[in-house]
Amino acid sequence: MTTRHSTAPAIRVRGLGKRFKDLVALDDVDFEVPPGSVFGLLGPNGAGKTTAIRILTTIIPPTAGRAEVLGTDVVAHPGTVRRLIGLAGQYAAVDPNLTARENLRLIGRLTQVPRHRRSPRAADLLARFDLTQAADRPVRTFSGGMRRRLDVAAALVPEPPVLFLDEPTTGLDPQSRTALWELIRELVADGTTVLLTTQYLEEADRLAQRIAVLAEGRVVADDTPHALKARLGTTVLELGMGEDPRAVRAAALLTDRLAQTPEREGALLRLPSPDGSLLLMDVLHALESERLTPRTIAVRESSLDDVYLALTGHRTTGGPT
């Protein structure tokens, strides 16, 4: 068993589909997550990220395909899967009337953590999530960020080998977010497998060894962050044209002359390129001929946001706030 698990994927999803009446939430989704790694499911709201997590955590059944956690089918043996996983959902699912400590001890009881280990485990997690001071206050007095931290802590109570984090850093301040990233890295270093969903490209880029990009229920890309960026070129040229009409004219001109359609956002044009500085020369040359000199020029590294745009045709909702 031990050797088989160490080579088999921690999570395996094959042809997974989920249909809610008229809505197709997931359509023929495939991916594999090697043990001891972080896998990022990236996509905007409604892309199917949460649906995938809910199927993998046995909350809802799929309508097509298979999903396995550590070699166990989530539909055939949900009880076994539940012993292998931890889930921190999109909504801070903790009991507002219990204290933080009581919440963690309740989860300990319900996940069959032996009685004598529940209190030390709760104390340890409260310390790791910087909640020791608030440990004995009812959770309804907590801020949103504190609840989220407690929610993630609750998922860790049974020390699950596979952890599902559904947008774990939504609503966290930058400091807590960095702390959570650090904690996720520690868990993975200790052999935990993490599947996390995020709308934040930065988060997936920083944490995940592999990223699947979901759009409208389909996987539109499944690769390493590095390869995803390489696919689109490494640089992006940004031209500030000052006014929208100039930007529109410039975009038309560049499409015509360079056979490359820039993305326009107001007066700003973006052009991805494998070699930004070389492209810059051509672009400036073309624009100069029509007296459309840019007001601002920037050549920057392409972000996953750019990749996302190229894959799905629209931008994500922006970086972490």
């Binding site: 068993m1 698990h5 550590l70 166990t72 292998l84 889930l87 699912a93 903790v94 309740l106």
Partner: protein, 270 residues
């Protein structure tokens, strides 16, 4: 992945029998803490029945007392109020479960290796414990306004147990309602039109004999009347007949129908 293999023993037979009890108690404990932390939950479930005792005792007491033969109205009323309290109180089961659904706590529970019945049984048993408190309190108020037990302490306790059993059964009905409607406001709104006829078109507050014939058919055969009648007989020391068994049969039947339905809804609740 040695942790995985160590964590995943196949559930044995004893686990299947023990887990629902063990997990149900854990959830019950959690619900009782909430009751202690948010006292208004308890206060609202006791104020209304106290108002009912006082109102019915003093407003309708004279009129209804005139048609009762040799029984004071307060003695007739109190068993009915007990049944009314636990019947209306069952809405709390729906509110509690619907709230857990809304807050996402239910999602977490459903991802945990716990018995599928535990979230529901933990709720209904916590509501049973709440009913013990409420029935005791209402008894106290009843005694203050002249209620007297005419049988003995055992008759009173047996009656109280029958009330609690009916309340427990009604909790399972409302567990289904709570999971089906999914939000506390709708659950509350949906409950009243069902519960009001059940409680008022019964012998809980007035004898059914003055109701129109068609209504008597319903009123005489529905569980509130049967339970109230049985409790009344036990507490007043009048002949019990088969009423206690009929009441218990209702309780068993209601739980047998609604508990599996509730667990089924819990499994598939989205």
């Amino acid at each position: 992945m040695t942790a995985a293999t160590a964590l995943a023993p196949a559930p044995g037979l004893s686990e299947r029998v023990l887990a629902p009890v063990r997990d149900g108690l854990a959830v019950c404990w959690r619900n009782l803490i909430a009751l202690r932390r948010v006292p208004r939950l308890l206060i609202f479930s006791t104020v209304q029945p106290i108002v009912f005792v006082l109102l019915f005792r003093y407003v309708f007491g004279g009129v209804v007392g005139a048609v009762l033969h040799g029984v004071s109205y307060v003695d007739y009323l109190m068993p009915g109020v007990f049944v009314q309290v636990v019947t209306f109180g069952a809405v709390n089961t729906a509110i509690g479960l619907a709230t857990d659904l809304q807050t996402g706590l239910m999602e977490r529970f459903r991802s945990l290796p716990m018995a599928r019945s535990a979230v529901l049984s933990g709720r209904t048993t916590a509501d049973l414990a709440r009913n013990v408190f409420v029935v005791a309190l209402i008894s106290g108020v009843g005694f203050l306004v002249g209620f007297r037990v005419h049988s003995d302490v055992w008759g009173f306790l047996a009656g109280a147990l029958l009330v609690l059993a009916f309340g427990f059964a009604m909790s399972w009905v409302f567990a289904v309602v709570g999971l089906a409607v999914g939000d506390p406001e709708t659950a509350t709104a949906a409950a009243f039109p069902v519960l009001a006829p059940l409680v008022f078109a019964s012998s809980a507050f007035v004898p059914t004999s003055t109701m129109p014939g068609w209504l008597q058919v319903f009123a005489n055969h529905q569980p509130v009347t049967i339970t109230a009648g049985a409790v009344r007989a036990l507490m007043l020391g009048t002949p019990v007949g088969s009423q206690v068994w009929q009441a218990l049969a209702w309780d068993v039947g209601i739980v047998a129908a609604f508990a599996p339905l509730g667990v089924w809804l819990y499994r598939k609740a989205v």
